[in-house]
């Protein structure tokens, strides 16, 4: 039972770690990875807390997470295309704000 809360806390940790990387890291590919890690953290939290309904596991959070994983991959594909389009016009694949802070 306490293991569920351990996994839920790991989910919280992944979410905030991803948030920190999203804010701090300048490269857009790293930002996309950070968003994916944040998503994984939320999924882990949802499913771990859904497991509290012992003896039968609550499957509604699981179904939501499966939907979420598919939405995450399509969002990632779109973000990667946006990143490639951006890096064609300005090399470095960074947002303008980060590039000006860089010089």
């Amino acid at each position: 039972m306490s293991m569920l809360f351990f996994y839920a806390l790991i989910g919280v940790g992944l979410f905030t770690l991803g948030l920190l990387a999203l804010v701090v890291q300048p490269h857009l590919l790293q930002k996309i990875l950070a968003l994916n890690v944040m998503g994984s953290g939320v999924f882990l939290l949802l499913v771990a807390l859904g497991g509290r309904s012992q003896p039968v596991v609550d499957v509604v959070p699981q179904a939501m997470v499966i939907t979420g994983i598919v939405v995450a991959v399509s969002a990632t594909a779109m973000a990667l295309t946006l990143m490639l389009n951006l890096s064609r016009s300005s090399p470095g694949a960074q947002l303008p704000e980060d590039q000006s802070a860089d010089s």
Binding site: I66, T67, M83
Partner: protein, 324 residues
Amino acid sequence: MEAVGLWQSAFDLMLGFSLFGLAWRMLFCADLFKSIVLFITFGLLMAIAWVRLEAPDVALAEATIGAGLTGALLMSAFAKLRTLDNSLKSGQPLLPRPRLHVINFWIALLFTVLLTGGLAYAVLSLPSHSPGLSDAVMSQLDSSGVTHPVTAVLLNFRGYDTLLEMAVLLLSIQSVWSMAGMSDAGEVHTSPVLNVLIQLLSPVLILVSAYLLWVGAHAPGGAFQAGSILGAAGVLLVLSGRPLFNLKKSWLIRLMLVAGPAAFIALATLTLINEGQLLKYPVANAANYILLLETLATVSIGTTLLALFVGSQTEAVQQDQSHQ
């Protein structure tokens, strides 16, 4: 019995901290290629965590989509990025360190630590036992048409979510297509070993996909897992240079992309007229409706994921051909 519990706890601890450590290394690593490899490893460990949390359906989806297809997408994007960016070509590490101002970095870190503390407190203050919706699902399972609760939730009780999800997939491929236009058609590496491997793997992957689709009615599996394996088979074929068929222009591909959403919308309209409620299947026919929806959704999900991967490449190939 107690010894087994102890080993399991030790395993859970190890897995949890590995996940966190991997995420740390992945996100704060100067080498982008290394980050992507770590991301794939992270996805595989997540799949094990799902099994530990008694969520085998999620584990299947994570292993095929989270680790597999997202990894392939990232690798392909990284390869294209490398042709654009000269600093990546020589293989030197991309970014030595976060380029934020030092004070800004500490403010961000402080905020993150505070947020972690608050969220952790919120999680720990939750009751340790909560029935959630499990009773509601179990009591209605008999009228859903399937015996596997996750499939019942996805395709029957919360069919509306899945309908919208199919719309999201369609929207994402539309936006990727409208933004595409990279002038780089990824080079194809073929080797005899790869060819034989693909000849062996492709039929097996299609078979596994069909099996997962069928078994989803009463065991872990279902349209999403089956669709993503179908998509993975397509990615393998594209990577080995098999000329599939013109992914963008072909009306057959377009038909496959919209089959799932169209079937959902048609059935939603039908049930709205007949039953007076959106996606409320008559109990007698629920199993058939779910199988029909799942089959078409599998085809659409597989095609969409493959098209997302191929995305911009077809555009470039077409341009080359029109020049010749």
